[in-house]
């Protein structure tokens, strides 16, 4: 089976379409490593950016004090500067003043490596957008629901978490899907700090095998599939959480 596939792509290469990743074991390994790292970047950064977004929106809704000012400042900085600049800032500026450990053969090894910096940077960048997404979701929940909870003896905080948040989440999905699609595409920026993700390994492959055009097409296809998967998952979650008679697309 595998030999058949390899033979097919070898013959295809002879006719001018050189997809080394499907018949050359070394290129295939590099490519799978890259794909794995890209998937890890997407999963880890999505998770942390959603946590950051939810926490930030909660602070903005419940507090008017210095905590809210900090969140607003964070959103202003990370939403309004380029991701590449932020990632360089973390990797080269912050990274250079971080403590450095040693690996087993005595060479210096930073405590936070390029992959971790990429996750931190992507999470903070995407988290800033998610703060606004969830804040808009909270704003879309009519205050009469909170009022009903207050009239039943809930305090503001309890009303927020028991009533407003579950409803706000349902208003946030469309915008959240946007942000996570954007995050999926933005993982390619991790290339710039040396994370061996898809773009990085593809660059290595086309430099060695001189199949730039083929690898470009593979990249486009893979990112289409990845973003498609992100949208599909969010749509499924949204459908599972749909409420009769409430919110967008309730079928009425």
């Amino acid at each position: 089976m595998i030999t058949d596939i390899q033979t097919f792509f070898r013959e295809l290469a002879a006719s001018g379409v050189n997809l080394t990743i499907f018949y050359d074991a070394f290129d295939f390994d590099r490519f799978v490593t890259g794909l794995g790292n890209t998937l890890l970047l997407i999963l880890a950064s999505s998770f942390f950016s959603i946590v950051i977004g939810a926490a930030g929106a909660a602070v903005l809704t419940l507090s008017k004090g210095p905590a809210a000012a900090v969140v607003r400042g964070y959103v202003a900085v990370f939403r309004n500067t380029p991701l590449l600049v932020q990632m360089y800032f973390f990797y080269f500026a912050v990274g250079s003043i971080m403590p450095v450990g040693q690996n087993e053969i005595g060479l210096p090894q930073p405590l936070i490596g390029s992959f971790a910096w990429a996750v931190i940077s992507l999470s903070l960048y995407s988290g800033a957008f998610n703060v606004e997404t969830f804040r808009a979701g909270v704003g879309a929940v009519h205050s009469s629901y909170e009022e009903a909870a207050l009239a039943l003896g809930y305090n503001r905080r309890q009303a927020f978490f028991s009533v407003t948040v579950p409803l706000a989440l349902r208003f946030s999905f469309a915008s959240l899907a946007n942000n996570l699609v954007d995050l999926t595409k933005a993982t390619t920026v991790a290339y710039a700090v040396g994370v061996a993700e898809l773009l990085y390994v593809s660059n290595q492959i086309w430099s060695d095998s001189l199949n730039t055009i083929e690898m470009m097409n593979v990249m486009l296809l893979i990112y289409l599939v990845l973003t498609g998967a992100v949208v599909f998952i969010i749509n499924r979650v949204e459908a599972a959480m749909r409420l009769p008679g409430f919110g967008l697309g309730d079928g009425q």
Binding site: A151, L243, G245
Partner: protein, 249 residues
């Protein structure tokens, strides 16, 4: 109805004033409601009727005056809101049921989460109340699957499940189709007949006339007059009341 009028009032408002920005909605409201009484507040829209209700359970803070519910002083900055809202329930015009909770959860969640009562006991009570509201088979439905009249009866059950001493009804039939108004009014009447103290803001003059012990008429933030319904609807003395009644009756 049989209580003597000199018994201690359960709820009393004295000189209550409230402004939204430069607009003074309430300009000195005095009101007494005794235990078991049914009081209807009527008046033109914008006259402050709903605001009066919302000041009683502290949803709208007041600028001046005092409000007492039993021994609780509502305008006290150290007010125990759980204690107040345990005693004073409210039913809203738009029902305001929680769309992400089933009917049973809507009715039972506050006593469980706020009053920390045991779940089983609260749910038994909630099912009984739903049966009394003639909704026994709707416990597991979501509010969005019910008609407006059914939702409003769930909202009444939700208020009752807190076992309050008084329930505030804020234009509870105003958002309903005419055929559903009747079912909700008969639910309100049942609550009143079971001895619950009720304060209702309503546009249903017929209902106010037969169900209320006392009618207050408000206009531009003041109570123009108050009287038992028989007297109010036949011998209203103030020209503003007479004008209003001539329009709505």
């Amino acid at each position: 109805m049989t209580l003597s009028s000199n018994s201690q009032p359960l709820i009393s408002l004295r000189g209550v004033r409230k402004s939204f920005g430069s607009f003074e909605v309430l300009r000195g409201i005095d009101m007494d409601v005794r235990k078991g009484e049914v009081v209807a507040i009527i008046g033109p829209s914008g006259s402050g009727k709903s605001t009066i209700l919302r000041t009683i359970n502290g949803l709208t803070p007041i600028n001046e005056g005092t409000i007492n519910v039993g021994e609780i002083k509502v305008s006290d900055p150290k007010l125990d809101q759980v204690k107040l809202r345990h005693r004073v329930g409210m039913v809203f015009q738009q029902y305001n049921l929680f769309p992400h909770k089933t009917v049973l959860e809507n009715v039972a969640m506050a006593p469980i989460q706020v009053l920390k009562q045991p779940r089983r006991q609260v749910e038994d009570r909630a099912r009984k109340l739903l049966a009394e509201m003639r909704l026994p088979d709707k416990a597991d439905a979501y509010p969005g699957e019910l008609s407006g009249g059914q939702q409003q009866r769930v909202a009444i059950a939700r208020a009752l499940c807190m076992e309050p001493e008084v329930i505030l009804f804020d234009e509870v039939t105003a958002a309903l189709d005419p055929e559903m108004v009747k079912e909700v009014l008969s639910a309100v009447r049942k609550v009143a007949e079971d001895g619950m103290t009720c304060i209702l803001v309503t546009h249903e003059m017929g209902f106010a006339r037969e169900a209320a012990d006392h009618i207050y008429f408000t206009d531009r933030g003041v109570i123009v007059e108050h009287a038992p319904p028989a007297e109010f609807f036949t011998r209203a003395s103030d020209p503003r009341t007479r004008e209003f009644l001539s329009k709505v009756l």
